[in-house]
Subunit: 342 residues, 2 copies
Amino acid sequence: MTDRHAAPPAAAAPAVRMVAAVDIGATKTLVTVRPAATAGAGDRTARSSAWSVGADVARLATDRDAASLADRIALEVRALLAGSGGRLVAVGVGAPGPLDPATGLVVHSPNLGWRDVPLGRLLSERLDAPVALEDDANAAALGEWQFGAGAGADPFAFITVSSGVGSGIVVGGALLRGAHGLAGEVGHLTVDAEGPRCGCGRRGCVEAYVGGAALARRARQSWRSELLADGSPAPRDADGVLRAARHGDPVALGLAGEAAEALGRALAAVAASIDPQRIAVGGALALGQPALVRRAVSIARRRCIRETAQALTVVPAALGAESVLAGAAAAALRLASERAPS
Amino acid sequence: MTDRHAAPPAAAAPAVRMVAAVDIGATKTLVTVRPAATAGAGDRTARSSAWSVGADVARLATDRDAASLADRIALEVRALLAGSGGRLVAVGVGAPGPLDPATGLVVHSPNLGWRDVPLGRLLSERLDAPVALEDDANAAALGEWQFGAGAGADPFAFITVSSGVGSGIVVGGALLRGAHGLAGEVGHLTVDAEGPRCGCGRRGCVEAYVGGAALARRARQSWRSELLADGSPAPRDADGVLRAARHGDPVALGLAGEAAEALGRALAAVAASIDPQRIAVGGALALGQPALVRRAVSIARRRCIRETAQALTVVPAALGAESVLAGAAAAALRLASERAPS
């Protein structure tokens, strides 16, 4: 590695403290750096509206070779830092799990084909800064709590619906990780034990109805022809299925109803368990289909006690595709504040 | 009121600091006093094995006239205190909710026929001590965490199955009450939206299958005759239904299977939401029917992801009929330690 991206010499005036945030997705990896000062550093309960979506975010292709991906992330962070003139104090990473935040190990990520990848160490060696690693749903929950739709809510829950379904919970401003890092795994609660086969191997999970991949697969299996009843081509993705439902296609209507019921069950399970002050729903599928979410909320109100139904408050995620990235930044800020010089 | 139960004169040697604990049930009210020192007072994370079940517990009939019940509770506390020679520093009460721990108000308790009863004030006026009020499921969770099956677990969940189904959650040694005091209300999650009518007015709730009252009612509706197939009398209560299932009665077998499925769904919802280190199951019905609970645990493992299933640890409640009473004592100890002279 050359040192053309090295930090300025120590004799210069103290550089602005910066954190790096990384969102490793199945196909794309987002990277950004932000000043530690403008975003609530030093106070884990501080929140800031300083997250401007789309500002200075680099997009890399996700590489299944973790060391190579870490190399490219590190180069990108150095380039962004050089542009800012700042000094890196911590790195936050959101990645698909299961993973272990304490050791920085990605235990097993089917989406990335990773098993026992020491992602935290790979990045901290390359960037000479401490790394906080969170699973993507937890990171997104933390990001929305600190910078977005969860501001001030206690407890706060975040549910993401895209290809799959995940969630994260924030209690007292801190992630509720659970005893084994598995809190918020509501995507595989059973709706109907004799329902459709889920990617996890069981039947009738929430994700088997409302996850985008499952919804598209069910639609392909249900339509016997390449054309819908109105002569238009049968859609190949979840958004197309939900659009066909709005146009009255009977197969799509049935699938959309079951998807709303499944998301409603997940919302009800979280609401009944932790009584959140607010639930934010994000993920590409949910954010693009507000009618589906509204219907799911209405169903959730019929799936728990009256008091819980009345108290249920569901809002859209505020950070769009950057919930995870903002959460990675929030995790880095917390790490930096824990290690800040007094 | 006479003063024959009054505290000893202030000139005497400082009396031992005592807390009173009260469990107000639908028909019986339990009252006890315990030394504040032997049971973890002054340290909300301290636990003690000092809870001996059955020691010095008074049993009163529950009175729907709240002021009269408060009178009799206060007399009983004074009598127990006089026997101990101690000085009362705090009172803890577990009662059926919904109620507001912050104001000591029982908002609405259908079982007691109470609405907006200022139970905290009624008792603190009579006993001249601060009162901590918790709903019975939360109190039981706290009691099992501090003195029983939940010792050291974080998070810890307690599910009670008797006439109805309730639960409470302890995170970091403190009750997770939720934003509106409704955390842990998993008894009315929907198992099947077209299932049997529940006492709450909706259909197919967990409680509509496994709550003792509902199970007995379903059995009475299912058996067309006063006699079972083997000629024995049709049972009138939930334990009898489950016994008939063990003897092979086909109607009872069906109901017992649905009860296990429902309890399994509640366990899975709690496990997936908060990833508890341990779940304790208590309540008269569950404690008397270990086979039902074992079957429910086995079902719960099939209703969530594999990692959650592997981590799921379910144990019987350790304090039997005194979970709520012990939790009331724990709440009183916490209140006393907050207000203790330095």
